[in-house]
C-alpha cells in the first residue's frame, strides 16, 4: 500500500455516505506530515490504536505530472496562495496532503545543529524534554528508515556541480546535500511530487507502516475542534470535505481514550487550539512565529546548465549560518517555475527566456530574527510577519556572496530579481548588490520552514506546551510538530521535526 494507490483499504476513509461517523481510538493524530506520520508510527508500533486525520488528500503517484500548477492544486494549502503579511507579502509554502511537506520539499536532511540545541536548553529548558543522546538515537533510526544518503554524482546536476566548484575556489565550505531518497533519477521534480517514488516521503513509509500496524487514516478530513471535558481532551470533531472544492462529505467524531496528538504545522496547530479554547492561558499561543524566508539568485553561464535536470537540490553551504544567519542551497526547477523568475514583460521576456537552459539558480535562506504571530481567521489563518532591517541586510549579503560563488564558477551575469537594481548585473557589477535597498518590498521571497506559535518550556506562564509535550492547561493534548520549537532552527527542519516527534511519541507511549 503506498501513495494512495490502495485507498480502498478498509482502514482508509475519505468520506461517510450518510450521517456522522463516530469512532474511537487510543490516540488521535492530527496531520500526516513528517511529525504526524512519525508520531503515528511510534504509537502504533507501541501497540496503541491510532486514528490519523489529514485535511488533504492522498495523492496517487500518477497524479504527479511535474507541472507546478497541478501540484499547487493537489498538494498545496490554498493552491499555494497562503502568505505572511507584513511590510511585504511572503508566500508560505505548506503541503496539504497525506505526507504533508515531505511530498513537496526537496528531501533535504539535516541533523539539528548542536549549538541550537544548547541554546534551546539553556534559554528555554528544552533539555528537560529530551536529551541530546535521545535525539541522536532518533536521527539514526530515521536515517535508516528513510535511506538517507548524499546526492550521487550521476544525478547531481550541473547547477550543483558548478556551485561546488565555485565555493571550493573561494575557500567557502559547502557540501553535497544528503536526502531521503531511493533511486533518484534527477528529474528535478521534488517540488511537484516525485513521479517515481524515489523521494522517501512519509506516506510511503511511516503512514503506510502505521496502517499495517492497525492504524486508521481519515483523509480529506479537516479537524475542526478538540472537545475538552473536565480539563481533559476527549474527542476530535472533524469534517470530510473535498480539499479543492470544499464540498462536504460528512462529519467525523473520534473519541480519544488516551490523548490527542496535534501535528498540524505552526500555522494550523495554534488555530485549532485557539478554536478549541486550549493553550490560551499562557498568553503565548500563536506568538513567536519564526521562519526561514529566502530568495533565489539566477545567473547565466556560458554553457548549458539545464536546471530541470539533476537533483532538485544538490549543493548547500552553511558556511555563514552562525555569523550571517544565512544558508545557501542550489535549487533546480522546471521551466514553468523558472520562467516566472526570468525578468521582463512581453518581447523582452521572450528574449530573456531563450537563455533558460544556461541559467543556474541558488537560494539564500535567512535565519530571521523577526517574530510573527498566527491567529485564526474563520477557517483559515492569518500570519503577521515583518522582516527587520538586520534580516534584510543578512539576505542581501548572502545574495552577494552567492553571486561571488556563481562568478567564481564561471557565470557571465547575474539576474538579481531585486527592485532597485538593474535586471542583469555583469560579473564585474556584482558589488552593486551591496547598494540594494534594505526594504523587504524590494525582494521576492518565499518561506517554507516554519517554527514556533506553541512554544515548549517548563514555565506555564512563558510557554504553551510543557516538557512532557503536553499543553500546560489541558490534559491529553500533545503537540509534536515544529510549533513547539522556541526559535528557528537554521537548517532544513524535516529531520529535526521527525526526531522531536519520535522522542515525544515514545514519551507519550510510555506514560
Amino acid at each position: 500500500m503506498n501513495s494512495g494507490e490502495e485507498i480502498t483499504s478498509d482502514r482508509v476513509f475519505d468520506r461517510v455516505s450518510k450521517g456522522d461517523l463516530v469512532t474511537d481510538a487510543d490516540y488521535v493524530v492530527i496531520g500526516t506530515g513528517p511529525s504526524g506520520a512519525t508520531a503515528a508510527r511510534v504509537l502504533s508500533e507501541a501497540g496503541y490504536e491510532v486514528a490519523m486525520i489529514e485535511e488533504g488528500r492522498w495523492i496517487r503517484t500518477d497524479e504527479f505530472d511535474g507541472k507546478s500548477f497541478s501540484a499547487q492544486k493537489n498538494c498545496f494549502r490554498e493552491i499555494g496562495t497562503v502568505a505572511a503579511i507584513g511590510k511585504n507579502i511572503i508566500p508560505v509554502i505548506q503541503g496539504r496532503c497525506v505526507g504533508g511537506g515531505s511530498i513537496i520539499n526537496s528531501a533535504i536532511i539535516w541533523r539539528m545543529p548542536h549549538d541550537v540545541f544548547e541554546r534551546w536548553t539553556s534559554e528555554f529548558g528544552i533539555g528537560d524534554a529530551l536529551a541530546w543522546e535521545a535525539l541522536e538515537a532518533a536521527f539514526d533510526i530515521i536515517e535508516s528508515d528513510l535511506n538517507i544518503k548524499p546526492v550521487s554524482e550521476q544525478v547531481m546536476g550541473r547547477n550543483s556541480t558548478l556551485m561546488l566548484e565555485g565555493a571550493n575556489k573561494l575557500g567557502i565550505s559547502s557540501r553535497v546535500i544528503s536526502r531521503n531518497e531511493r533511486g533518484c533519477q534527477g528529474l528535478a521534480q521534488c517540488l511537484t511530487g516525485c513521479p517515481i517514488k524515489a523521494k522517501q516521503t512519509v506516506d510511503l513509509n511511516y503512514v503506510t507502516w502505521s496502517l499495517e500496524k492497525g492504524a486508521r487514516l481519515y483523509h480529506s478530513c479537516r479537524a475542526e475542534l478538540i472537545k475538552v471535558k473536565g480539563g481533559r481532551a476527549r474527542s476530535v470533531i472533524a469534517s470530510f470535505e473535498d480539499p479543492l472544492t470544499g464540498e462536504s462529505r460528512g462529519s467525523l467524531i473520534v473519541h480519544a481514550r488516551k490523548g490527542i496528538v496535534v501535528c498540524a504545522t505552526p500555522v494550523q496547530t495554534p488555530c485549532l487550539l485557539w478554536r478549541s479554547g486550549i493553550g490560551l492561558s499562557s498568553g503565548h499561543l500563536g506568538k513567536h512565529f519564526f521562519a526561514h524566508p529566502g530568495q533565489a539568485l539566477i545567473c547565466v553561464y556560458p554553457d548549458e546548465v539545464r536546471l530541470w535536470e539533476g537533483a532538485t537540490q544538490g549543493w548547500e553551504s552553511e558556511h555563514f549560518r552562525k555569523e550571517w544567519k544565512v544558508k545557501f542551497e542550489t535549487l533546480g526547477m522546471r521551466l514553468d517555475l523558472l520562467s516566472s523568475r526570468i525578468p521582463g514583460v512581453g518581447a523582452e521576456f521572450k528574449k530573456n527566456v531563450l537563455e533558460a537552459r544556461y541559467m543556474g539558480n541558488v537560494g539564500c535562506a535567512v535565519v530571521c530574527q523577526a517574530e510573527g504571530k498566527v491567529r485564526p481567521l474563520g477557517k483559515r489563518a492569518s500570519i503577521s510577519y515583518g522582516l527587520g532591517k538586520e534580516d534584510v541586510y543578512n539576505l542581501r549579503r548572502g545574495l552577494k556572496k552567492i553571486a561571488e560563488i556563481m562568478v567564481a564558477a564561471g557565470a557571465e551575469y547575474i539576474i538579481p530579481n531585486i527592485y532597485g537594481l538593474p535586471p542583469k548585473l555583469g560579473k564585474d557589477e556584482i558589488n552593486k548588490i551591496d547598494e540594494a535597498p534594505l526594504d523587504p518590498r524590494s525582494y521576492t521571497m518565499i518561506m517554507a520552514h516554519l517554527f514556533g506559535t506553541c512554544r515548549m518550556g517548563p514555565d506555564p506562564k512563558k510557554s504553551v506546551v510543557g516538557t512532557d509535550f503536553q499543553v500546560h492547561d489541558t490534559l491529553g493534548v500533545f503537540i509534536l510538530d515544529s510549533s513547539i520549537f522556541p526559535t528557528n532552527l537554521g537548517v532544513n527542519p524535516q529531520h529535526t521535526i521527525m526526531a522531536f516527534s519520535h522522542v515525544g511519541a515514545k514519551k507519550i507511549a510510555h506514560q
Binding site: 511535474g66 507541472k67 507546478s68 500548477f69 492544486k73 490554498e78 493552491i79 496562495t81 511585504n88 507579502i89 550521476q154 544525478v155 533519477q185 534527477g186 528529474l187 528535478a188 479543492l244 472544492t245 548549458e304 539545464r306 530541470w308 535536470e309 539533476g310 522546471r334 521551466l335 514553468d336 517555475l337 523558472l338 520562467s339 516566472s340 514583460v345 512581453g346 518581447a347 523582452e348 521576456f349 521572450k350 528574449k351 527566456v353 531563450l354 533558460a356 537552459r357 477557517k379 483559515r380 527592485y419 518590498r441 521576492t444
Partner: protein, 139 residues
C-alpha cells in the same frame, strides 16, 4: 468564486501582454494559447473567498486603472492595442509601488505556469521529460 466571461477576456489580454504571440521564431505561442487564462480562472475558483477577491480585484484594477497608473492614459486596458498593453504592463512591472508590482507578478506567475509547462514551448527551449544523463545510463 466564478469569473465572468468578460473578466476572462480581460485576463486573456493581460496574459498575452505578458507573453505575446510571435516575437521569437522558436517560441511563437502566447500565454493564452497555452491555457494561462484557465490557470487564473482556476486560481480564483478554488482559492478561499478572501484570496479570490484579491485576485479578481487585481484583474479589475489592471483593466480599469492600469493605463492610467502606468501611462496616464484614459483608456481601458483591453481596449489598447497589443503593443500599448505590453508597455502598460511593463511600466507596472517596474512601478515604484510594491502593490502594483505584485499585481503584475500575479499575471506573470499565472502566465508562466501554463506557458512554461506547454510541451511545444518546453521542447523549443530544450526541456525534455527525461534528463539526458538518465537516458545515457539506460535507467
Amino acid at each position: 468564486m466564478k469569473m465572468r466571461a468578460f473578466e476572462l477576456e480581460w485576463a486573456a489580454k493581460m496574459v498575452d501582454a505578458m507573453i505575446p504571440p510571435g516575437v521569437e521564431e522558436k517560441i511563437p505561442k502566447s500565454a493564452s494559447e497555452t491555457g494561462a487564462t484557465e490557470v487564473l480562472r482556476e486560481m480564483i475558483f478554488y482559492t478561499p473567498a478572501l484570496t479570490a477577491l484579491g485576485l479578481r480585484a487585481t484583474i479589475w484594477l489592471i483593466e480599469l486603472l492600469g493605463p492610467m497608473i502606468a501611462a496616464r492614459k484614459f483608456s481601458r486596458f483591453s481596449r489598447l492595442d497589443p503593443s500599448s498593453r505590453e508597455k502598460v504592463l511593463d511600466a507596472m512591472y517596474n512601478s515604484k509601488s510594491y502593490f502594483i508590482r505584485q499585481m503584475v507578478l500575479l499575471i506573470k506567475m499565472s502566465s508562466c505556469f501554463a506557458w512554461g509547462a506547454d510541451p511545444e514551448v518546453m521542447k523549443a527551449l530544450g526541456v525534455e521529460d527525461t534528463p539526458k544523463f538518465v537516458k545515457r545510463s539506460g535507467n
